[in-house]
Subunit: 430 residues, 2 copies
């Protein structure tokens, strides 16, 4: 349930998509690592907040207690700590596993690819963070998915908001995961959950509600830096200062047009400590509506400065920031587009079919195709002793093979091959 | 246990290796499919003989009972049956999982890549089978792993041998899996297992022992076709006839020099029904020894005509033959070779580092690097506000970046960039 087989046409399309994403990661100087799909259960414990129940666990068959990886970020942090790596720019494209309710029509599966780019190391503030946003911008632009918006916030600002609204620190994470639901439900329901389930006072919830409805750019950052309540909070001040720096760098990259500082963005995961962001595709409505509707997140990420330290026996921290491209949702969109266009995706790359027009020529075909393979040419033949020429040419048309190399009795005698262009039917002897 | 993280240098080497294998599969006209790493437990039941105990099972967390795939062949057969595909040439490169005793120094892990190529469909005899052997020959030649030998046998011949030696049909599989151990232990021990554990008579075991020590080429096939006991057995006769045909095709491919018809080859898996084969690398000894020692199997495969039918509700069969390249063992060999040579594998592809020679020029670097990225150039910069030029050039040398694009105060004034060849220190303004 929630998994699927990928037929050749899907794999061909996905391979093209992944190649574009990996090309961008390489353009930014990342190296690839690979980690096992199996992790120790204890490695995953306490990293995913409320979503921990979605982790696939392996049966205890003796030996270690194992689970399937839930994302690529936690394995990356474990990798850095175990190998005592303190600086690294890496990408990782691999499948992850979540026992979620599948919504396969919207591209949500229990087994799905993640494409992650992360920068680990102690650096000057916001330079790597800005690069992650540049990468999101490059990939979404390149894939021509239509208009998009990258929402940016900072966990320190959110925590400052909670503090300023009178939420005790022990409830920051709970408040955060509730704010995260603002995208899927109206403020009234979010407030109900805050008060009912999380035990916040209605007044605190209302105060939070005023902040989290704010979004804008440098102007909003400046305004909040002057906010009497927020500016008293050290964390919020740091977060706002860094957000300002981030917007300066994004201005130099020329991409602020698609970036929005949005206080409603919370991200569900426990491990974020600074900047967080999420990219959404915007549905272009034909009728005039105030704001374009979002069709869901296609990339997300943020800064997690504490995660590596959780895996180091001495707690040594390695600051990290990274981005994950939501390749499955993008794939669904592109697949629907291909379907709608009626295009046929070629699933093989065969250049030439080795064919014979008469019987008893299997040996000639086997000799010729073997020469072609040894010369690096992509070649096929029908697995029949005496196939009809028409069937052989039909196979070329069905599978898109452009050329047929025909060897008949006459050609054998003359020591030549007849090369036929399948589309134009032109033939040359060579 | 038995899994590992792959650092960038390993991934870079492995990517090159996988690319060579995939290029060969594509050269033979294969399309790619992908299947989930999770399979229903019942899909894997009864397919792997004695090795079924090595299957990783997932915990029952509600819903279906799942296991991790053990190979790519059973998922392929399930794919064909579920999608009612009766003809397909496909490759699949993915990880599989076995709770085996890891022997990591010899490249045996619990999580490892398989690279499979299979031809499904009803075709004229031995043409696809011969192509699978051609593929093994091409890949092992191309990777320059040293001398190798491909052993070939046929399950029907083996069963004919068992029948001719008085083994009841119900014990064929057991006898087969014992013969399979001949590579790892001497005949005396294999015989002991046959008699002690599998309950064969000592006389039957001795008769089997005479056959399974035979190996050769067309001459041996002809001899066995005349063998009074074997030629009475219908299955053995069919197998030997097909083996003769196979050797004719391999002769046309020009590869019989590295192929040996070897009656000791059994292959452990239950699902084989016809031709089976296994490629081993030969250790070149300097001293004169009678036979070169084998350093283990690097490819294997065979025909499995009954497997797809096991997944079809009406039992409809789709004959298949395929090959699996033992990429992990090949990878260990290549990795050791790289280590021994002292070569440094570059793990990134960065073409140019954007650098500044003075302070307060971060903005200039951010603007320039952004232009380079947008132009598709692989570029990096140090994540520091004011890095020293020496540090920046040192980073180029450490990571193999060939060029530095330097923008200083003078260059900014003149509207140029200074491009420096890191190795030669030559500079041009542009």
């Amino acid at each position: 349930q929630g998994t699927r087989d990928h037929p050749p046409a899907s794999v061909a399309l996905r391979d093209r998509l992944l190649a574009a994403v990996v090309a961008c990661f390489k353009r930014h100087g990342a190296a690839a690592i690979d980690t096992p799909v199996l992790e120790l259960r204890e490695t995953l414990t306490g990293k995913y907040g409320e979503d921990a129940k979605l982790i696939y666990e392996l049966q205890d068959q003796g030996g270690e207690l194992l689970a399937l990886r839930y994302d690529l970020t936690v394995p990356f942090a474990r990798y850095l700590a175990m190998n005592k790596v303190t600086r690294m720019k890496r990408y990782h494209v691999a499948k992850v596993y979540r026992r979620d309710n599948p919504a396969t029509t919207r591209g949500r599966y229990r087994e799905f690819y993640q494409c992650d780019f992360d920068i680990a190391g102690q650096f000057d503030p916001m330079i790597p963070d800005a690069e992650c946003l540049k990468i999101v911008h490059e990939i979404l632009s390149e894939l021509q998915l239509g208009d998009f918006l990258v929402k940016v916030n900072d966990r320190r600002i959110l925590n400052g908001v909670f503090a300023a609204c009178g939420v005790p620190e022990s409830q920051f994470l709970a408040a955060c995961s509730t704010v995260d639901k603002l995208e899927k439900m109206p403020w009234e329901d979010v407030k109900k959950e805050m008060v009912g389930e999380k035990g916040l006072s209605p007044e605190a919830a209302d105060r939070i509600g005023e902040y989290v409805r704010l979004h804008g750019g440098l102007d909003l950052i400046e305004r909040l830096l002057q906010d009497p309540k927020l500016s008293q909070n050290q964390l919020a001040k740091e977060g706002l200062g860094d957000m300002k720096l981030l917007f300066e760098y994004l201005t130099l990259f020329g991409i602020t047009g698609k970036i929005s500082f949005d206080l409603s963005l919370a991200r569900g995961l426990d491990y974020y400590t600074g900047v967080i962001f999420e990219a959404v595709l915007l549905q272009q409505e034909n009728d005039h509506v105030e704001e374009p509707a979002s069709v869901g997140s296609v990339a997300g990420g943020g800064r997690y400065d504490g995660l590596v330290g959780m895996f180091d026996p001495k707690g040594r921290k390695v600051p990290c920031v990274g981005v994950s491209i939501g390749i499955e949702r993008i794939f669904s969109i592109l697949e629907q587009r291909v379907k709608a266009s009626g295009q046929k995706v070629r699933t093989t790359e065969t250049q030439v079919l080795v064919a014979t027009p008469q019987k008893h020529l299997l040996a000639a075909r086997l000799k010729l195709i073997s020469e072609l393979w040894d010369a690096g040419i992509k070649a096929e033949m029908l697995y029949k002793k005496d196939p009809k020429l028409l069937k052989q040419l039909q196979y070329c048309e069905d599978t898109g093979i452009p050329l047929a190399a025909i060897v008949g009795e006459q050609e054998l005698t003359d020591g030549v091959v007849k090369l036929r262009d399948v589309a134009t039917r032109e033939e040359v002897r060579m």
